[in-house]
């Protein structure tokens, strides 16, 4: 199957690959997927305590090109958003932006899960209740 231009671009020039200090209280880390399933995403956000906006986002992903592109795109979208705005990112937005075929939709679901997991980690660290995410089929 041929990849879309956007997937190839994110794969070839991934944005925001890296690691934030997970010990910091204003850093939230989400690790989703499983090695046996062929994809694992780790997505991290750093929240600016003054403005409440996401000042930095990083990812590392083990997976196919679509999984790498989905997480790269997610970090791009996260930067500059508030936590509430970040929660509204839907996997179908990623599907649309990257032109993912049906067989790759699970990559976008994983990216959405990673965003939610990172936000939850941040919330728990900062004494806020964990959000119960709606479960999407993978």
């Amino acid at each position: 199957m041929a990849y879309s231009e956007k997937v190839i671009d994110h794969y070839s020039n991934p944005k925001n690959v890296g690691t934030l200090d997970k010990a910091k209280v204003n850093v939230g880390t989400g690790l989703v997927g499983a090695p046996e399933c062929g994809d694992v995403m780790r997505l991290q956000i750093e929240v600016d305590e003054q403005s409440g906006l996401i000042s930095d986002a990083k990812f590392k992903t083990f997976g196919c090109g679509s999984a790498i592109a989905s997480s790269s795109l997610a970090t791009e979208w996260l930067k500059g958003k508030s936590i509430d705005e970040a929660l509204s990112i839907d996997n179908m937005d990623i599907v649309e932006e990257l032109n993912l075929p049906p067989v790759k939709i699970h990559c976008s679901v994983l990216a959405e899960d990673a965003i939610k997991a990172a936000i939850n980690d941040y919330r728990v660290k900062n004494g806020l209740p964990e959000l119960v995410a709606e479960k999407k089929a993978h």
Binding site: Y11, P35, G38, F62, G65, I68
Partner: protein, 406 residues
């Protein structure tokens, strides 16, 4: 020599046709178009003569008699004919077939079909190196066993099964031995008598011949083997396979076998040296492992897992320039990683991280150099991007993490 891109390293999927094969085939499309079954005119005689000649060429390569070659549409049909044909023909003798878990789908699915028809099938596990356990094979034989179906060389990992030992066990118990020779014929010396083979399938397009043609070897002496035809019609191919013969395809298969007969030995040496060079260079990467037995295997194949990177993601790094296959789930419609690699006891994670290299007649040293660099670079780049690699480097045991399976 100048580097030619893209590089084709998927010769276990299919091989390009040798131009000499095409040349042999060409007259049989327009000029010599006759039906080999037309007995009353020169067009038919010409076609029949070409088929007879090809039958000799094919038989010679595997040490068989020409009468023992049944032409089919390919190895899938030959596998089906062998398995279902023996099951039906020997129904009064028994209904049990022994095969193994790393066989090609054309064998496994034909066996599944036979089970639905009331047959009993034993699927032997393979050992960690991909070879079957001969003691387990012998122990599986019952008084109802009619056939042992074990492939010659594996398509994914290239492992060559101990065919002679298997046939000895089969003979000892009066059981027929069928082998899927698709990947082995034309690549390594195969001799149906020395190897003790009763039935063997193979195809044209895995050995520089055309697609859409293959053959089933069916032993005629010691013992005389018969299969029930799976297609009814004009009674071609000694009644075992009806259907107008694919004359150009058969001519091509014959020519491909003749070329292999002359060039196989030198080609095998050249390809195994090239394969070893590729393999050794890639094994210099940390956490890279060869899947399957490295001693008993086809000369042109290697299958390597690069831990902590995913196969499809890996291929994307170079698939503009290099064509090969991965055991990763993402390359198949099923989203399941390779059942062959899983049968070796590899974890799904290693199966997801595998690449299969299939070298061929037209592979050059320059292409291998390019491939080594491209794959090394991509593995290193993706590991920088891999959370699993980071954890591994930090000494975190990945098995200690509770993964969210989905």
């Amino acid at each position: 020599m100048e580097l030619k891109l893209p590089i084709y390293l998927d010769n276990n999927a299919t091989t390009p046709m040798d131009p000499r094969v095409l040349e042999a085939m060409l007259p049989y499309f327009v000029e010599k178009f006759g039906n080999a079954a037309s007995r009353n005119h020169s067009f038919g005689w010409e076609a029949e003569e070409a088929v007879d000649y090809a039958r000799e060429q094919v038989a010679k390569l595997i040490g068989a008699d020409a009468k023992e070659i049944i032409f089919t549409s390919g190895a899938t049909e030959a596998n089906n004919l062998a398995l279902k044909g023996v099951f039906e023909m020997y129904a009064t003798k028994g209904n049990h077939i022994i095969t193994c878990t790393t066989e090609h789908k054309a064998v496994l699915d034909a066996c599944k079909h036979i089970e639905k028809q009331g047959g009993q099938v034993t699927y032997l596990d393979v050992q960690a190196d991909g070879l079957i356990d001969l003691a387990a094979l012998e122990a599986a034989i019952t008084d109802k066993t009619i056939l042992i179906a074990i492939m010659y060389g594996n398509n994914e990992i290239g492992v060559i099964q101990p065919v002679r030992e298997i046939s000895k066990i089969a003979r000892k118990h009066g059981v027929l031995f069928f082998t899927d020779g698709t990947q082995a014929v034309g690549k390594v010396p195969v001799d149906v008598n020395a190897d003790g083979i009763d039935l063997m399938s193979f195809s044209g397009h895995k050995t520089y011949g055309p697609k859409g043609v293959g053959a089933l070897y069916v032993r005629r002496k010691n013992p005389r083997v018969k299969v029930t035809s799976q297609m009814d019609g004009g009674g071609h191919e000694r009644g075992m396979r009806s259907g107008t013969l694919n004359v150009p395809g058969i001519v091509g298969l014959g020519k491909a076998c003749e070329i292999a007969m002359h060039e196989m030995e030198a080609e095998g040496k050249r390809l195994s040296a090239m394969r070893d060079r590729l393999e050794n260079a890639l094994l210099q990467l940390e956490e890279a492992y060869v899947n399957g037995n490295r001693e008993h295997r086809l000369p042109h194949t290697t299958n390597i897992s690069f831990k902590y990177v995913e196969g499809e993601g890996l291929m994307m790094g170079f698939n503009k320039n290099i064509a090969l296959s991965s055991g990763s789930a993402c390359t198949s419609a099923s989203l399941e990683p390779s059942y062959v690699l899983k049968a070796l006891g590899l974890g799904d994670d290693l199966a997801h991280s595998s690449l299969r290299f299939g070298l061929g007649r037209f592979t050059t040293d320059e292409q291998i150099d390019f491939t080594i660099d491209a794959i090394k670079n991509t593995v290193l780049k993706l590991r920088e991007m891999s959370p699993l690699w980071e954890m591994y480097k930090e000494g975190i045991d990945l098995n200690s993490i509770e993964w969210a399976h989905h």
